[in-house]
Symmetry: C2
Subunit: 282 residues, 2 copies
């Protein structure tokens, strides 16, 4: 493997603008050739992901290592946040996993600052956390729908960067993934939900009306990617029109992320002979 | 399928005593013939479990159904609580799952009553929660080690029954599973951990010394099964010396439990033709 996928998909804003038109939602950058190879690759990565997760968990349980991973999934409706949890994250051991979906804030949550509910849902040491939506909604839907004045949301980008910097310093390493789909693919997925009565519960009329605001969302996402892809917590753009590529790419990004942490099984100082003797005597 | 596994493994104490000697830890009651058939059965149940979980989740998300399931796993060290999470629970969608392991209480937890930390870890509506150890530790290790006076722990059985009754009334349906292993099997598993350096982090010298208290733990478990297997929240004894049977039996119990809830996809009143038209116009 010449180039890492993370290097390829990482958003390097360097203070400039980001133009999502430059990213093809149907693309498969760095990916295997076709769906069959993609699915095989995902299958292959599952065991390695589970092993790295166990090492991370063990290091914290025994070694007191404070590190943990937080995967943030963002993207338009039907972009596959839930599907990624179902097909990628399901390969991990549920004991070391903390998945949280963020909806419209509750009355209690609204009485606190916008990061309050996020802080309470963070993974603990040794865990892998996954956010299906996140604090970024407070500069996405909130911005698009003018839910707070511009003077308020516009200050949040810097607040988010400081927050994520402080997370990184306390051992939370972030993997922020934007699932990039096209409006055409979204239409096809919403139509598919309408076709199947057992999927009607997933269908929200709002999803149809939100499509009218596609350009505003696009702009809001571009602002996020331009302003919040930092050294401590970069953004990755994953083309998501093809589900197999999306699952493959997120698996691969998570694998590279975990490998970079180099978790290792703790080797406690254990008198093996002594305990073997004691056990055989009981 | 003539008899349900849950009917077979359920503890019917009826106010009398429970004698664990009557339960063979190597037994495979109601199970398939042999390991290969067991593993195939587990595989087969995974899809059905995932489907029932999704229905439960959908009913709460759209229909406002308050129901949720809480699996409580108890058993001696190495009995396979973690293994059950890894091999059985991993078949479920992590988005609707809340796994929590209970260790010795923290200083903060000790400032509250023994049920406090349990209440905070309950699954939310539509979720499946799994406890690796639970409030039962407060009448198990606490009783065996005299961590509180007898007058305190002896009142907890009734407190637990009231607590679980109130959970049942608020929609939390409990599946309490005692993983029953023999001291010989435990020795074999602890020895196996000693043999493998990558398993040393799981080895605790305490586990060896706790073996001396096996009869006291047995008595404490018998008291739990006799006093806390109620109509609202019965206990199930799963023979756990054979890992394949343990995983098969817990899968089966969970399947029967979910089937009994009869979750169904909500059928919201949806004007399919209207939304199809709107979508095709955008």
């Amino acid at each position: 493997m010449a180039e890492k996928l993370s290097a390829r998909l990482r958003v390097e804003a360097r203070g400039g603008a980001v133009d999502l038109a430059a990213y093809d939602p149907r693309g498969t950058p760095g990916g295997p050739k076709g769906k069959a190879a993609g699915l095989a690759g995902i299958q292959e990565m599952r065991a390695r992901l589970a092993e790295l997760q166990e090492r991370l968990f063990a290091q914290s349980a025994v070694g007191g290592d404070p590190r943990r991973v937080l995967v943030v999934l963002q993207g338009m409706d039907t972009s596959g946040k839930g599907g990624t949890v179902k097909h990628v994250v399901s390969g991990l051991n549920p004991a070391g996993l903390r998945v949280r979906a963020f909806k419209a804030p509750t009355a209690q949550e609204r009485r606190h600052d916008f990061l309050w509910r996020v802080r309470r849902a963070l993974p603990q040491a040794g865990e892998i956390g996954v956010f299906d939506r996140s604090h970024y909604e407070d500069v996405l839907i909130v911005r698009v729908h003018d839910l707070v004045p511009r003077s308020v949301w516009s200050r949040r980008y810097a607040a988010i960067n400081r927050f994520e910097q402080s997370l990184a310093e306390s051992g939370v390493s972030l993997l922020k993934v934007f699932l990039h789909i096209s409006p055409e693919e979204q239409r096809a997925r919403l139509l598919a939900r309408l076709e199947r009565p057992d999927k009607h519960w997933k269908f929200s009329p709002d999803d149809v009306f939100e499509r009218e605001r596609w350009p505003a969302y696009r702009e809001a996402y571009e602002a996020v990617l331009a302003r919040c892809s930092t050294e401590a917590a970069p953004w990755y753009v994953v083309p998501a029109d093809r589900k197999w590529y999306r699952n493959w790419a997120v698996s691969r990004l998570l694998l590279e992320h975990l490998e970079q942490l180099r978790p290792a099984y703790p080797q406690p100082d254990l008198d093996v002979a002594k305990y073997r003797r004691l056990l055989l005597a009981t």
